[in-house]
Amino acid sequence: MGELKLMKGNEALAEAAIRAGADAYFGYPITPQSEVIEYLMAEKPEDRTGMVVLQAESEVASINMLYGAGGTGKKVMTSSSSPGISLMQEGLSYIAGAEIPCVVANVVRGGPGLGDIQPAQSDYFQAVKGGGHGDYRLIVLAPSSVQEMSDFVPLSFDLAFKYRTPVMIISDGLIGQMMEKVELFEQRDRLTDEEVIEKYPWATNGKPVGKERRILTSLDLDPHKLEKHNHHLQAKYREIEEKEVLSETLHCDDAEYIMVAYGSSARIAQKTIQLAREEGIKVGLIRPITLWPYPKKEIEKYVQKGIKGFLSVEMSMGQMVEDIRLVVEGRTKVEHFGRVGGVIHSPEEVLEALKQKLIGG
């Protein structure tokens, strides 16, 4: 068993970055995730593993620092919250286009605009539908516990390097701020410069003797070549959709109704299941762990089984619900419930919505 600690989600994320063997973190403070950079600065990872931590002048600079250092084959990460993540969209598009691996954590707060500093899940569209310009995707992982804030960091780095693509960990102010027991994984070694050079021949860390120089760019002025590059990216995304979907189900075997919820909402939905079953309502939960690629097959499985209806429970005005409807295509009822603006729905409210929107309606 690994070391057990009581930690905030943000702290677990930061500790996991050090333990995952990250080479650098670049970030800019924003509530409710400033503990990430505060923890890293206090921990002196330069002494622990040689990891670089730098407070950038803006989120725009942070994401471009990821482009630069990630482009040399190093393991790099940043974190921010909604308005800061909006500022990073240009950079994420360039990173996806130039195929640079990196990890970006979004501890979502209420929006739109400056919004507030309370938990929300209203950045779903931005995370899974692109966010920046052009045809690209992020792999998006949604932790629903402090444990997963830790565990998903090494997983994200593995996926980022496997596919040379940016990976987003999307949580919210609740997961980021709450304290839970977390079992920390063993320290992974940082790669040496020589190992990086050997492992990532695409990386721009100095032209190898006797070989061609490497160029990292998202520009191609020849439309036919750029079209080909787009097809290459799409082929990669199809492979990710095929191989990397993660989800979890709870009490779905005998369920007549299914809630679909991720992150904090999935935790709340667990309590709703208990309350519902006490009243004899057979309800289950599908928890998407990867929001992109989306667990379409899991949803389809229960459509085939004749489920009476799905309720998308999310702290937004109804974003993920659209992805459920894309799978269901009208074959059964799909409704949405969620509080927004930083208000967190209670398990009782979710149960009431389930009754009104699916069972009674």
Partner: protein, 264 residues
């Protein structure tokens, strides 16, 4: 000399000058008479002479020199518009032993990327920034730049830059020289043989500073021409540059070895 044939001239022992191998054979995309090609060559010659071909990473901007990576035969990254100093900062932080430089135009460095420029300078990142200032947006077709001179006509100041409405030209090089993080700040040109020699010397000093781990950033502005954007012949553009750009953007060192140079 009269006895020399072509066969004699091309013998290796008679070679007096050759293009550096660190410039690719690709035809430059720049307009005839433009200073970019010369600036590219000088940087590559300096890197070759310093023996850093295999340890250099360059960062290209958005602007006319967006394709700099097509011509510079070292590992290169293409940055988003204005973000090259942030990109270069991170490369240098994770590969402190490598030589890292950015190559940026006036719109990239002094307008959209002002924050990244100032903060990389102020942190004293141990990188080289090469700043090409031709007072205009060349690639997008001749629009006003942050460095466009008062009264100068561009496609977005068609009656001349009116400073009351459009603001003043920004002397960002003098500005960054004031920051404690800059170690060497100079303004050069590449339009004559003697200017080229001086510019190369300045570039050599800048890269040597980085290799010697001098405490701070080396910043080299090259005041250049844009005959297409200025709508002049290459010769007239150079004359106009000497008569109009140089009095405003005065050539010479502004800061050396971390010390501001006193104006006489």
């Amino acid at each position: 000399m009269s006895g020399l044939t072509v066969q004699d001239i091309v013998k290796p022992e008679n070679l007096v000058y050759k293009k550096t191998d660190l410039m690719t054979d690709k035809t430059l995309s720049y307009c005839p008479g433009c200073g970019h090609g010369t600036a590219h060559r000088l940087i590559m010659e300096v890197i070759e002479e310093l023996g850093k071909e295999h340890e250099t990473i360059g960062v290209a901007p958005v602007g006319c020199s967006v394709l700099a990576y097509e011509f510079m035969n070292v590992d290169m990254q293409e940055a988003a518009h204005g973000r090259a100093p942030a990109v270069a900062t991170a490369i240098k932080r994770v590969w402190p032993g490598r030589v890292v430089f950015t190559y940026q135009g006036d719109g990239d460095l002094a307008a959209i990327g002002t924050a990244e420029t100032i903060h990389a300078c102020n942190r004293g990142e141990k990188i080289v920034i090469v700043f090409i200032n031709n007072g205009i947006y060349g690639m997008t077709g001749g629009q006003m730049a942050p460095t466009t001179l008062p009264g100068m006509k561009t496609s977005t100041s068609p009656y001349g830059r009116e400073v009351i409405a459009m603001g003043n030209p920004l002397k960002i090089t003098e500005l960054v020289a004031q920051l404690p993080g800059t170690y060497f700040v100079t303004r050069q040109a590449v339009h004559t043989a003697s200017a080229v020699r001086k510019a190369k010397k300045a570039l050599m000093k800048a890269f040597q500073n980085q290799i010697d781990e001098k405490p701070g950033l080396s910043f080299i502005e090259i005041v250049s021409n844009c005959n297409s954007g200025w709508k002049m012949t290459p010769v007239d553009a150079n004359i106009w540059m000497e008569e109009n750009m140089f009095p405003f953007y005065q050539l010479g060192d502004i800061k050396k070895d971390g010390q501001l140079i006193e104006k006489k």
